[in-house]
């Protein structure tokens, strides 16, 4: 079989809401193609929805970073071996049985029922933030005043992190996720957040009985202190950056699609599906995830050999016309969007997805209820896009009302 080979991953997005055009072209030619990694390894690029699900759901692929060839040029060269290793507690970068043991300690905290019980409390946080935005006059940066604070306030309260200490993680999170950071800068930023989380775990151990997830986790006596602080770090990062970016670029998208925004305003009951469709359409994880085969495996007639690294392209898979009927490149808030892979698939599928859904449902609904005449305050091409970050979105969103 003739195989399509890309020398590097195309990342340029001519339209801010669409995947890179070249990646879409690759998908239409070959849902599994070859991709050269930065170290010269000839790995794979997976752009088809069905193929993405098959790989992410297969135990024949590992998520251990020691096994991965690296795509990101920052991390080439003299990366010390011990820095490649997943640290204790970082279950997102581990395989079973370690992953299973650690994730199970947290799963009970993120059930659909528990998250639904938080709805009223989250609505209060959203209301307060919208009142704050209104108090600023008639224009604001939506990212700074709404999209980032709401999920940050929520995850801080859930974890028992003092929101006033957000300067200890927000800037360093951005440094970790910036594709312009050097490896050392990213590692130094991570080390500072780890120090913060270690202090936090020590404080909670000294004062047990707190009503928060970290205290609950420590009370089980199951994780070591190091595991607990890294698990907390993972929840903190995953809990505020991702939802914040969906709220930011999701609002930008709705403002640029007035027909769809009108549906959301006229038919409030569409909100649950609207959130799924925005997740599908925007797919903000634009860099990975990555997996490495631990044994030879055939997918769609391609032999992926043990040791081969595979880059999963979430935005391309979520626009695959073989899965999503009609025109998947169109935003359609009434489309059946379930089955998208924006939260991933397989055993690593987003642990906090039910929390994220509730934050987005309440966040988008209340934003446009309270600010029905919300509009962009700059030309759309002036909105700074996060093409330089591991998680896509907008750096800021100037709005007026």
């Amino acid at each position: 079989m003739t195989e399509l080979i890309s020398a590097e991953l195309p990342t340029e997005r001519p339209n801010p809401f669409d995947p890179p055009t070249e990646v879409t072209e690759i998908r239409e030619q070959a849902r599994i193609s070859r991709l050269k990694f930065a170290d010269g390894h000839l790995g794979w690029l997976v752009t088809g929805h069905h193929q993405v699900r098959e790989i992410l759901g297969s135990p024949k692929f590992s998520n251990n970073p020691e096994k991965h060839h690296l795509l990101d040029r920052r991390f080439q060269g003299d990366v010390p071996e011990d820095k490649r290793k997943a640290e204790p507690g970082m279950f997102l970068s581990q395989d079973p049985p370690d992953h299973t043991r650690l994730r199970k300690m947290l799963q009970g905290q993120f059930t659909v029922r528990r998250m639904n019980q938080l709805s009223e409390w989250i609505a209060t946080i959203v209301d307060d933030q919208l009142a704050h935005m209104r108090s600023l006059g008639n224009r604001a940066d939506l990212v700074k005043e709404f999209a980032l604070p709401v999920p940050s306030l929520v995850i801080c309260a859930l974890l028992g992190v003092d929101y006033d200490e957000r300067h200890r993680f927000q800037e360093d999170t951005a440094k970790m996720l910036s594709l312009d950071s050097t490896f050392k800068e990213a590692m130094d930023a991570m080390a500072r957040i780890q120090d913060f989380m270690r202090e936090l775990v020590a404080r909670k151990k000294a004062n047990p009985g707190g009503d928060d997830m970290i205290s609950d986790l420590l009370a089980t006596g199951e994780p070591t202190d190091e595991e607990a602080s890294n698990m907390a770090l993972l929840l903190l990062l995953a809990g505020h950056e991702t939802t914040a970016n969906m709220l930011g670029i999701g609002t930008f998208t709705l403002l640029q699609h007035p027909d769809q925004l009108k549906i959301l305003k006229d038919e409030p009951e569409v909100i649950d599906n609207a959130v799924e469709e925005l997740m599908r359409y925007l797919s903000i994880i634009h860099f990975g995830p990555v997996r490495t085969a631990v044994e030879d495996v055939e997918i769609d007639g391609h032999l992926i050999k043990a040791g081969d690294t595979v880059l999963i392209h979430v935005p391309a898979a979520n626009r695959d016309p073989e899965k999503f009927t009609g025109n998947p490149d169109e935003l359609d808030l009434r489309r059946p969007a379930s089955g998208h892979v924006a939260f991933g698939h397989g055993i690593h599928q987003c642990l906090g997805q039910q929390l994220a859904r509730i934050e987005m449902r309440i966040g988008f609904a209340k934003l446009f209820q309270e600010f029905p005449d919300l509009r962009l305050d700059v030309e759309p091409e002036e909105v700074p896009l996060r093409t330089d970050m591991g998680i896509y979105g907008v750096h800021s969103l100037p709005v007026a009302w």
Binding site: R103, V112, M115, G339, G346, I347
Partner: protein
């Protein structure tokens, strides 16, 4: 139609409960799937199949 669940595979994503809370629940302790109805009536057959297909860990089978 018969639904079976494998708790040892379940990763607690909650997709099944989100799809049909009449058929599925999650354990308070570790978030793993709890099957509420083994033999769904005709009205719930479509959502039972959807839950099986959406499950990220392939922990649900419908036969």
């Amino acid at each position: 139609m018969k639904i079976s669940v494998d708790q040892s595979k379940c990763c607690g994503s909650g997709m099944c409960v989100l799809t049909d809370p009449d058929l599925f629940d999650q354990s308070e302790e570790d978030g793993t799937v709890v099957l509420l109805v083994e033999h769904p009536d005709a009205e719930h057959e479509a959502t039972a199949k959807e839950a099986a297909s959406l499950c990220p860990a392939s922990a649900i089978t419908v036969s």
